[in-house]
Symmetry: C2
Subunit: 87 residues, 2 copies
């Protein structure tokens, strides 16, 4: 399935969370990731995220679509993170 | 149509952008909005956003789906902005 993940994480934990999410998805904006992922891998991603985040103050939202074709994407301004692999 | 809007905006402009986006969509996380919107209203939203943002440094990503039912949403941690209208 295709997912969009956005997080709002305390500054102290954000570096670790970024590194964790990038193992599974493409980083497209400051706190936004997207990509194809299996149910199993998504569970793994979220289990790992729960260990990093403070569930009382931090938040992660995942939008899931069975197919990427049901979503159009439009970018206004800089396309900062389109090539994720140069970092 | 149903849209998810995420922005990455310089601190000086973020308050103005938040206020602008909330006229059109529901605020669900720090820099994330969602909701039903018409093509015309989305154009209006983006035209207004372009006036606020610095297109060389800031970015807005819009994911569009013809129907909300094609997207599942899962939240981990705090659901901060679910009731947008109390502010």
């Amino acid at each position: 399935m295709y997912v969009i993940l956005v997080y709002d994480i305390g500054e102290k934990r954000v570096g670790k969370m970024l590194k964790h999410c990038r193992k599974y998805l493409n980083w497209i904006q400051n706190s936004v990731f997207e990509g194809e992922i299996t149910e199993v891998k998504l569970k793994e991603l979220l289990a790992g995220s729960r260990k990093i985040m403070n569930e009382e103050t931090d938040s992660i939202i995942i939008f899931k679509s069975r197919d990427e074709k049901w979503l159009d994407k439009e970018v206004v301004g800089v396309e900062r993170m389109t090539t994720d692999n140069f970092l």
